[in-house]
């Protein structure tokens, strides 16, 4: 190889790098630019978010918002490094159960005095509880979804069982009985997708008065499995092991994995998030008749835990007031409805919840909307050490219990004894 060739190669590399050089973040024209990290991912949802950003930019020439697409899969890592490096987006879309560490770490702005009274009063107190850590409010909860039963309407009608409504839901005992009646001929009454069994179990257990986490006078949290906490896990366990009315194979599946069997009539019902309707609408075979039923009710009615989607503002943002104004714009009742429809979820705002589009029988919107008032903060939202307890103790224990490998006593022992050792390390 000649020297000329080497020089040419080197020149190519330099040119390549020169070609790589981006245009930067634009010239400084005196306008404020806010970066909005959005986790919208479904087609309609992305469109709704982008449209709203465009509308804001068209009416606010001095405060431009830049839409930045993030993903649910990697948002925690992305935010952590952004916060540490002082490069966080100004407005952050996330979920309330991911905020605690960021809030306690001082990365998120306290919104208490930044948000307008309209927004504060429009969202119910129990929703604000999901984003309140210590004395501060670190996000605006704006979308949420209840866990519901999505049922094969044809099978349900044929069986002659009572169809539950939000006003007259099934009890857990009745639900167990119904799944028995719907089973047989190679079919299961229900398929529980419990790949992540902890949040599903805890959130549904609120209906039966389950609390699991008990805060003492000293402020420390301990795990205690009481009668109210046992109803949901025992129902699932018995459906799988005793009644054979729940498919044992779906216990390790995610929600989407159960859909092919559901469409093929192998399962009469699947407990899923309300937003799964979008997938069902898109993937169900022609003529497949489905409907949404409320999850069973217990001593505390239809209560269940949720972790709403949130909008937060970075503590490092130099334009918090402007960012709060954009959040207020994004969450105007009409806009909240557009976001909710795009994500097939429910808005938290009371004004938005009144929108007629959310009360139609079509795609069972009305059933879900009727459940909104029963949604409560997920039980473990503010428990420090919850993530480790969930991964190391509760997930394997519940998986073993549901599969029949251990009984209720052993489940209690693991959740309480092993679990409290984990939590204690975070509360010294």
């Amino acid at each position: 190889m000649t020297r000329t060739r080497i020089l040419t190669l080197f020149a190519c590399a330099v040119l390549l790098l020169a070609g790589c050089t981006g245009g930067g973040d634009g010239a400084d024209d005196g306008r404020i630019t806010l970066r909005f990290l959005s986790l919208a991912w479904q087609d309609e949802s992305v469109k709704a978010n982008r449209e709203l950003v465009r509308e804001w930019n068209a009416t606010h020439p001095d405060v431009r918002v830049e839409y930045v697409q993030g993903s649910w899969d990697s948002v925690h890592d992305q935010l952590l490094t952004s916060f540490e490096g002082g490069e966080a987006p100004d407005i952050i879309h996330d979920a309330s159960d991911d905020l605690a560490d960021f809030a306690y770490g001082g990365y998120l702005a306290d919104l208490t005095d930044l948000l307008p009274a309209r927004l504060r009063s429009d969202i119910p107190r129990h929703s604000w509880e999901t984003v309140t850590f210590g004395d501060g409010v670190y996000g605006v909860p704006f979308l949420q979804e209840p866990r519901v039963l999505i049922a094969n309407a044809t099978l349900l009608k044929e069986s002659g069982v009572r169809i539950p409504t939000p006003e007259h839901p099934w009890t857990w005992a009745e639900f167990r009985q119904v799944t028995k009646e719907l089973s047989g001929k190679g079919r299961y009454g229900v398929a529980w997708p419990l790949k992540e069994p902890v949040s599903a179990t805890l959130n549904l257990s609120l209906s039966t008065g389950g609390r699991l986490f008990h805060r003492g006078d000293d402020g420390k949290v301990t795990v205690r499995l009481e009668d109210g906490d046992e109803v949901v896990p025992r129902t699932v366990h018995d459906q799988v092991g005793t009644d054979r009315s729940a498919s044992p194979t779906t216990l390790g599946s995610g929600g989407s994995d159960t859909l092919p069997g559901f469409f093929a009539g192998k399962y009469a019902m699947v407990p899923l998030g309300f937003s799964y309707r979008q997938q069902i609408e898109q993937q169900a075979p022609e003529g497949f008749d489905w409907q949404v039923l409320p999850a069973p009710a217990g001593a505390d009615g239809l209560a269940q835990g949720v972790s709403p989607q949130t909008l937060s503002i970075a503590e490092d943002s130099p334009h918090k007031k402007e960012a709060a104004a954009f959040v207020d714009f994004l969450l105007q009742p009409d806009n909240m409805v557009r976001l909710a429809l795009g994500d097939w979820m429910l808005p938290t705002g009371e004004q938005a919840l009144k929108d007629p589009a959310l009360h139609t029988a079509e795609r069972s919107w009305a059933t879900g909307t009727a459940l909104a008032a029963h949604l409560r903060p997920a039980p473990a939202q503010s428990v420090r050490g919850y993530a480790e307890w969930k991964d190391k103790v509760a997930t394997p224990a519940l998986q073993e219990y549901y599969s029949g490998a251990i009984g209720m006593d052993e489940l209690r022992h693991r959740l309480e004894e092993d679990g409290n050792l984990v939590l204690a390390r975070y509360q010294r």
């Binding site: 190889m1 000649t2 020297r3 080497i6 190669l9 080197f10 190519c12 590399a13 390549l16 790098l17 070609g19 790589c20 050089t21 981006g22 930067g24 973040d25 970066r35 986790l39 991912w41 479904q42 087609d43 992305v46 830049e66 839409y67 930045v68 697409q69 993030g70 993903s71 649910w72 899969d73 990697s74 890592d77 992305q78 490094t81 952004s82 540490e84 490096g85 002082g86 490069e87 987006p89 979920a95 992540e196 995610g254 929600g255 989407s256 859909l259 092919p260 069997g261 469409f263 093929a264 192998k266 998030g273 799964y276 997938q279 898109q282 993937q283 169900a284 075979p285 022609e286 989607q309």
Partner: protein
């Protein structure tokens, strides 16, 4: 030693099985990419889509800036490959030809550096790049990829350098060539397959890399394909499977094409005819 027909049949069967095993995920990806949503949710999936559709590709392009991301990936991967090879080649020559404590220490460091997890370096790296004004820029990402692939590239190339007979360099020296001339005119051409293989390694490493790109690139117009692909995955791991498969299929093609184009250079006789025996 003669191989019996049965043994040979067994070997071919094992090879075929291995090829099927390797090809399965890619063929399944192609199958999914052309299936409409209703077929994706079928309890009895078929290899060949019954109603093949291009809608997944259309949707993937509509929803995400795939072309732009592909260009960013290409720039980052090509930049990383070219620069890594330019730096690693002379370094590898020194490591391979010099026998001293420094060369040994360098080789040891190369091996150790491969064991560092990404998360260990990402925050200091982020801060360094931020101070240099290279966050959210493809050149910044190229720098990271070069640094990341350099140790292994060095290791690979040193092996190729050792395989070049010293006699050739000695003969060049006898003919009056200096060290640089020897390296450029004698050794480098013989290293071509090694350089190509190393460049390919650096290219594919950078092409597939996700974590650094996720953390360092902030805006969609700068993001690379692996980052954009995650945008088809929603909360609780729910995936928009059709468009995701279509986009992943497209993302796989360039590295396959690059590999197909240059794989002959890698497997070609490296030193064929170099030394007359």
């Amino acid at each position: 030693m003669r191989t019996s027909t049965a043994a040979r049949t067994g070997q071919y069967a094992a090879l075929l099985g291995y090829l099927v095993f390797l090809a399965f995920p890619f063929l399944w990806l192609i199958s999914i990419a052309f299936k409409p949503p209703r077929e994706l949710a079928s309890l009895h999936p078929t290899w060949i889509p019954e109603n093949p559709t291009l809608d997944n590709f259309r949707q993937a392009f509509d929803e995400q800036p795939l072309l732009h991301a592909g260009l960013n990936s290409l720039l980052a991967a090509l930049g990383a490959a070219v620069i890594a090879v330019l730096i690693a080649t002379p370094m590898a020559y020194v490591v391979a030809r010099r026998r001293g404590r420094l060369a040994k220490a360098a080789t040891g460091w190369v091996v150790v550096s491969q064991a560092f997890p990404f998360v260990l370096v990402i925050i200091p790296l982020f801060l360094v790049l931020k101070n240099l004004g290279l966050i959210n820029s493809v050149p910044g990402l190229v720098m990271v990829y070069v640094v990341w692939s350099l140790p292994f590239a060095l290791w690979m190339l040193a092996g190729y350098v050792r395989a070049v007979p010293r006699e050739l360099e000695e003969a060049a020296a006898v003919d009056g060539a200096g060290r640089l001339r020897t390296l450029v005119s004698v050794t480098a051409p013989l290293l071509a397959p090694g350089i190509v293989a190393t460049a390919l390694f650096a290219f594919i490493t950078a092409w597939n890399e996700f974590f650094f790109a996720l953390v360092l690139l902030k805006t969609p117009e700068k993001q690379t394909l692996p980052v954009i692909l995650t945008h088809f995955i929603g909360a609780e791991g729910v995936a928009d499977l059709g468009p995701l498969a279509a986009a992943a299929f497209l993302a796989t093609l360039p590295s396959l094409v690059v590999f197909a184009l240059i794989q002959r250079r890698i497997t070609g006789g490296m030193l064929a005819g170099a030394v007359k025996s």
